[in-house]
């Protein structure tokens, strides 16, 4: 398995997209921090960019990469290697590369300008989101044979997680604004890893007061140790569940 991971990472690094992505993140992070005199403000600006870009690149790059490696996967499957090991190696290779790209591109500037617990939380969220969306991409790929369809599904999934879901939540809030739905909102937000990441970082930034009563309920829940543990647990589920489902599907896939 280690050997397959090695070949996957060599192949990804040779692909210039991941280097461009790293540079892009680095330039964006540095410029956002230099534009604002207050680094907390810079962090907030960077947060919005990262929550959009990281899932998109992670999802689309992984999807296209797996489709383009069809030959490589076919070659590996006819060799004395376990299918599960091949698939998990692809996941590990992609997740490692995306994590390192984020760490170098955004992690270093954040650590320079904001070397505290808020910055650490931001980096942790970026890494978790990178890995989560690699895992979701693998599920999208294994479910559809057709390349165009698979990439389309990946882009739709990204649209859903970053735009459509928020619209749905807003709709819910307006429709049921007469009812005490703040507690329900907590469970709804765990249906979207991007939202969960945003809430955790905003609470660290201590601007939850701006979010009104909902913010108070959120900080009441997510601010506690149990709330934190709960949200990290949910984020891990978001990694494990799509990955596990994709492994089951890949084991039975005809190549």
């Amino acid at each position: 398995m280690k050997k397959v991971i090695k070949y996957v990472i060599i192949d990804i690094v040779r692909n210039k997209i991941i280097i461009t992505y790293t540079l892009f993140l680095f330039i964006i992070s540095i410029s956002v921090f230099s534009l604002e005199d207050n680094s907390a403000k810079g962090l907030l600006g960077l947060l919005n960019i990262i929550l959009i870009i990281v899932p998109l690149v992670s999802l689309v790059f992984s999807t296209i990469y797996i489709y383009n490696s069809a030959e490589f996967i076919e070659l590996l499957v006819s060799q004395p290697l376990q299918r599960k090991a091949i698939w998990l190696s692809l996941f590990t290779g992609l997740a490692t590369s995306m994590t390192f790209a984020f760490l170098i591109g955004a992690g270093i500037p954040v650590l320079i300008y904001q070397p505290d617990s808020i910055g650490a939380m931001m980096i942790l969220m970026g890494i978790l989101l990178s890995v989560i969306f690699v895992s979701i991409a693998l599920l999208a790929v294994v479910k559809s044979r057709d390349k165009a369809k698979g990439i389309g599904v990946a882009i739709l999934l990204w649209l859903y997680f970053s735009l459509i879901f928020d619209g749905f939540v807003l709709f819910l809030v307006f429709q049921f604004s007469d009812y005490p739905i703040e507690k329900i909102m907590i469970s709804v937000s765990s249906l979207n890893p991007i939202d969960l990441g945003r809430i955790l970082i905003l609470l660290k930034l201590d601007i939850s007061a701006l979010m009104g009563y909902t913010g108070a309920v959120f900080s009441d829940f997510f601010g506690t140790t149990i709330g934190m543990l709960f949200s990290f647990f949910v984020l891990f589920i978001w990694i494990i569940l799509p990955l596990w489902l994709s492994v089951i599907n890949f084991k039975r896939k005809d190549l």
Binding site: V4, D11, L76, S78, Q79, P80, Q82, D254
Partner: protein, 235 residues
């Protein structure tokens, strides 16, 4: 060595293999013959675990191949269309395969075909720049590289120049003498004449017959494989 028992596989409505049973013994060289779409490649892919059958089972040395992967270290496979990572050079692909296979069983490396096909002079060429025939040479060299007990060759000589296909045939005869099981699927029947010892004829996913070549000649009264098969197809 390989026993296939009541295997069925369909792709959508198309039945690629229908209740297919066969057994292959060591030291045989078996030709897989049949019209296009008769299930030859599906059969080969099921043996390799690349396609998973809907029903039935396949055993390799008495062990069910489902969810098993170690058995593949005893198989050398040459695909119909060799597809390799495009950015890698021939040398990198060969080194990668050596690296990936090393841990499973320490086998002797057999690089006779690499030398005879003169692949060493192309070692730094990227896979995407290769012609179809050169890719076939790489596939053949990789199939024989690990001295496997079973060789599965899917249309081995298609796309090879006459000289290379002669080299490959010589190698097949040599490995047959070493007591290996060799499965060849091919449409060029005249090339199989002096190679194979048994013939498997597939039609619409079913095994039409599986005979030794002598038996086939006796039954049809012909002396060439091509004529014997033509005789059967006309019936």
């Amino acid at each position: 060595m390989i026993i296939v028992n009541n295997v069925s596989k369909s792709f959508g409505n198309f039945k690629a293999l229908d209740n297919f049973s066969v057994s292959c013994a060591k030291g045989e060289c078996i030709a897989l013959i049949g019209p296009n779409g008769s299930g030859k490649t599906t059969f080969i892919k099921i043996l390799l675990g690349m396609v998973i059958c809907d029903s039935g089972f396949v055993t390799f040395n008495g062990i069910n191949i489902l969810n098993n992967w170690q058995y593949r270290s005893k198989i050398g496979y040459m695909p119909q269309l060799g597809r390799y990572p495009e950015n890698m050079t021939i040398g990198q692909v060969i080194d990668m395969m050596k690296d990936l296979r090393k841990t499973t069983i320490s086998t002797l490396i057999d690089d006779e075909l690499i030398k005879k096909f003169d692949l060493t002079s192309l070692i730094n060429k990227r896979m995407r720049t290769l012609s179809g025939g050169t890719k076939q040479k790489v596939s053949a060299a990789l199939a024989f590289l690990f001295n496997p007990d079973v060789l599965i060759l899917d249309e081995p000589t298609a796309g090879l120049d006459p000289l290379s296909s002669e080299i490959l045939k010589e190698k097949i005869v040599k490995e047959k003498k070493n007591g290996k099981l060799i499965l060849i699927s091919s449409h060029i029947l005249s090339e199989l004449d002096n190679l194979v010892s048994q013939v498997m004829y597939l039609q619409e996913g079913k095994l039409h017959f599986h005979k030794t070549i002598d038996q086939l000649m006796k039954d049809t009264g012909e002396d060439k494989l091509a004529k014997a098969i033509a005789y059967i197809m006309l019936q």
